[in-house]
Amino acid sequence: MVDSDSEEENIIRFGTPLEPYEEDEVPAKRKFQQQPDQYAVDAHGRRRFHGAFTGGFSAGYGNTVGTPEGWIPTSFKSSRSEKAQVSNFRPEDFMDEEDRGEFGIAPRHLQTNNEFSGQKRQRQQQFHDGPIPGEPVLQQLVRAVHETAAVKMLRAMGWREGQGTGERLAKEAKRRAKEQHKVYGCYMPPEMRNENPPQTDEDSSDSEIDYETLFAPDDYEPYILQRKNDRFGLGYSGLSRHSVLGNLVGEYGSDAGSSKSHLVMKDKGKKVSIRGQAFGVGAFEADDDDIYATEDMSHYDFAIGGATIDKQKAKKTKEKTVNILEGFVKSSKPLPSVPSYPPPALPRDYVPAPAGSRRSRFEPTTETPRNQGLGRHELTAAARGALLGESPVPKTITDSISNENKQVQSDPIARVVGRNVNFVSTSDNTTETKELDFIPIKDSGKELSNVFKPFVSDPQKQARYERYLKDKNSVIQENNSTIDDRLTEWERSRELMEFEQAAKLYKPLSGIMEERFTHASEPDDGALNPLCAVAKSSNNYGQATPEQIEAAMKGAFGSITRQETAWRPESLVCKRFNVPEPGTTRDEPKKEDKPKVSYSIFSYLESSVHDKESFTKEQTKFSGSKSLNMDAINRTKLNEREKNENKKEPTPQMPVIINNSTGCNKRMTVAELFLKESENDLKNKDQGVVVTETINKFDKMDLYKSIFLSDSENEEDDGGENAKTTDHTDFIEKPKNTERNTSPPRGIFANIDFDELNSWKRNSETKNSEKATINTTTEMIANDTIDKKGNHNKQTDNSDPIKDIEANVYGPKIPESLKNRLEDTGALENNFKPTFRSKEQRDLVQEVDSSSDSDSWVEAKEAKTKKQKKKKSKKHKSKHKKSKHKKKDR
């Protein structure tokens, strides 16, 4: 037992024992544990790489700036209480820490530059021969890795440091070379050279070395000439007098005591300067011994009674200076200073850019950004003025100023104040120059308006226009009084409107500017000298005329001092003030006139109406034909009438008015055109085309009705419907007219005998019969509408007879379709009133006749007295429709 025990004790076991194994327990299979994926992680344990193949690049929110959400764009927020702080973001603010790390895109840690080199050319330095003589140790430690190209080349050629350059030499040759060493100056006698004894030793060893062994030549030791700054013999260096603190101790020629002190009194005790290195010794321990001082023989006296010796010494030296060796002359000037060659001055804008240095892309660039502007700001004032159409400023400003100065000199009061106080007195004298003081914008504008002649075709009109430009009011008065008897009042007002538009359109830029600025009444000295007195501007009479000023002085206010001009308040102003808009007599183009682009079915049905609008607008501006003037009459009358009728709903009414008027315009001009041509070539006619046209028209009407008028209007009576249909024909007819505008006569007109129509005017009796024959074919088609109208006419028979006459005289009361027809056939080409009169007559005749031409002719014949009322109902209908359309458009 004991043995076994001892045996057990003696057994040396290696390794770890297995866990005690219990028989009952089946040893569980240890699961295979897969090693966790080896991810590259950063310093914070976050995965470094994400995304494609988990090895590409850093992405995802793991490494985003600051927060897991990534970089959040900041919103600018500034309130009165909390002012926004101006934040200057640097690129680094948008970087991860990693980016600034060693491997990031903008590494930010201190490391030596590969290309670091100290000074490439090792300059020969004089090292301090202090307590640690020779090259400073630190400089030896931190040594530039970089070598010059020459050194590299030498190295490549087998040169090693410490060797000389040149061919390799045998030992013997080397020694010989040494002996031949050239020495400038005194040659040291050979016996004095201490190299010789060791050389002999070397020689003995040389024998052991193969003679063929070659050695590199000895390194050339540069012989540096040092300026001799003492009067010892050549090559003598006395006892070192340097203390560790760098100052010379006990140097000859200087007081030992004073040099020891670090405090030096300058300027006779006024300033104290501390000299030397503050190294270890406190500033207040000046009395202490220099603990770093080295013992030196110079610290000892070489004789007893040093002070007396000093005196003797001084005497001696004095004597010496007197007694100069024979053959020597005492130099009168000090030794020439060592010439120093400062490096050349660098160019002013030189930026050092080392060739090999790599730059971070986030460094600020010195490149000037590309000039992206349009070069506007490079324009000089003169160039800008030329662009604006100003004439250059004459160089009289200085003259005027000098004039003023002279006056200032002469006026004693002004001299006291330093400037011209009473400006008016001087302004009289300097008016001529004053007028040139500013840029004559007005004149330049006039020139331009002279250049532009919108009514060249009609010289008389052009003349009138020019007169208008000169003085608007006078022209208005002239127009009202005499000048053109040929023109009707309507034409004149129409023309005036044209002029106004033309003037507005062709007002040059300078003219617009002129409105906005006024010339300073006096030079703006205040801008330069805030202390100068400002003259009271009560002398500035604004735009008052001399008469007004005089009247005001007398106190005779009233008609002289009063000026009245037309002023047009904005419609919104009127609305807000609850005042009806004044001056509706002259209708200026409004915003509502602009064609609205709508994508409803109506925009297709009536698209030509829009086209016409824009076209006629253009036409009305400058064509200025007589027919247009008549249209204007027509239109304005229409407007007035309709406004009276429907004051409650002026806005929905507007489009209707425009359509009517523009339609008229077009027809008139077209009619004129045809009249001319009709005399030349149109002789024979065929009425078939007219028939088809009307049929088409009715088809369109049906479509129109079926879509829009089906439910609500069915309830209404026949007469109402009738009116509607006439209105529809208007709508549908208009496109035809625009299409025909520029083209030569075709369609209906191609086959109309205009001669006959004209003759109808001259001869009313024959006319009626002719027309009857012409239009017999269309009669049948129009029959049903005639019946309806007949009914309607009876209903409206009781309308006011006076109004009725009026209606016949003026345009608006004629049913649209009838008017259109009349115009189309050129019946109205010259004079409006006669036409209507003739129509009346004709109607009377036709009534007797009871012969019907086309639908419209029939209408004219039968509807004579009821027109007005019918018109009214029609208007309501159309309005109703319009509003409906609008709703649908929206």
Binding site: E515, R516, T518, K536, S537, S538, N540, Y541, G542, Q543, A544, Q548, I549, A551, A552, M553, G555, F557, G558, S559, T561, R562, Q563, E564, T565, A566, W567, R568, P569, E570, L572, V573, C574, R576, F577, N578, V579, P580, P582, G583
Partner: protein, 302 residues
């Protein structure tokens, strides 16, 4: 007819550096003071109550006008802006920046749907306070110098300018009547019957003009205007003309005889620049430096 003597009923220290304008509201129960400290203060002058301070201008507030329902008011300032305020919340509802220079005066129209402001940029601008439109509805550019005062009636706008003209714009007729006055017009008001203008001129006079003919009806003098933009007023019965003076007095003239009937001394040798007449009763507010005084008769006080 002898006017009952007015006496100081209330003196309010506004602490607004200088009061540029003091204005009664539409029924005369409240008043607004515009201060050089960029603030506007709402007071109940009869009870000496400070109700609210409105801050939001960036420079001195030069004029203010209350709306007809006292729910809003407009103010104008040297910061070139006109601000429409909500009285109860004290927040600016709209800020109109159409003027190119200091806005000197502002008025509402009768229904307070449109504000009319005059400016040093020689223009008068109409601002629609109903819509959100930021641009002026209309700009009157007839004046050749600073607009000093604007008055608005139901269909007329009276503008006074440093260019020595008074201009009357009639919206109904659509014409502008400009009258040459011969002196800088510092303030203009319209009599309650709408037939006369009362214009304060820089030559220390107040002139009464007939609207229809433009003739001078009367001249009132006895006060000093110096270089100040003194305001004037017509009393509630159209019987007297009131004007401040540079020497701290407030003068009452009889409209017909042009005799000075009363001199109220607000303070010595300090100009009474702004004043406001109660619309219906015999109360007057005058402002001098940062002090506002309410004047009235003793009987009325009881």
């Amino acid at each position: 007819m002898s006017e009952p003597e007015l006496s100081t009923l209330v003196t309010i220290k506004c602490k607004q550096q200088n009061i540029r304008a003091v204005r009664f509201n539409v029924d005369g129960s409240y008043c607004l003071t515009c201060g050089a400290d960029k603030k506007i203060k709402l007071w109940n002058p009869h009870k000496q109550l400070h109700l609210k301070t409105y801050g939001g201008h960036a420079n001195e507030v030069l004029d203010a006008a209350g709306a007809c329902d006292s729910s809003h008011f407009v103010s104008c300032s040297s910061d070139k802006s006109v601000i429409l305020w909500d009285v109860t919340t004290g927040q600016p509802i709209r800020r109109y920046r159409g003027h190119a220079s200091t806005v000197t005066c502002v008025k509402f129209n009768e229904e307070s749907t449109m504000a009319v402001s005059g400016s040093v940029d020689n223009t008068v601008a109409f601002w629609d306070t109903l819509s959100r439109r930021q641009e002026p509805v209309q700009v009157l550019k007839d004046a050749k110098d600073t607009i000093t005062a604007v008055q608005v009636t139901n269909h007329e706008i009276l503008t006074c300018s440093v260019d020595c003209h008074m201009r009357l714009y009639d919206i109904r007729v659509g014409k502008m009547t400009s009258d040459y006055i011969g002196q800088i017009v510092t303030f203009g008001s319209i009599t309650h019957d709408g037939q006369c203008f009362v214009l304060s001129c820089a030559d220390s006079t107040v002139k009464l003009f007939d609207k229809e003919s433009g003739e001078l009806l009367n001249t009132f003098s006895g006060h000093e205007s110096k270089d100040l933009l003194l305001e004037n007023a017509v009393n509630e019965k159209d019987s007297h003309i009131i004007s401040g003076s540079a020497n701290g007095e407030v003068l009452y003239w009889d409209l017909i005889s042009s005799n000075c009937t009363q001199k109220l001394v607000h303070c010595k040798q300090k100009p009474v620049v702004s004043l406001s007449q109660h619309p219906t009763e015999n109360y007057l507010l005058t402002a001098c430096e940062d002090e506002v005084k309410l004047w009235g008769t003793k009987a009325m006080e009881e």
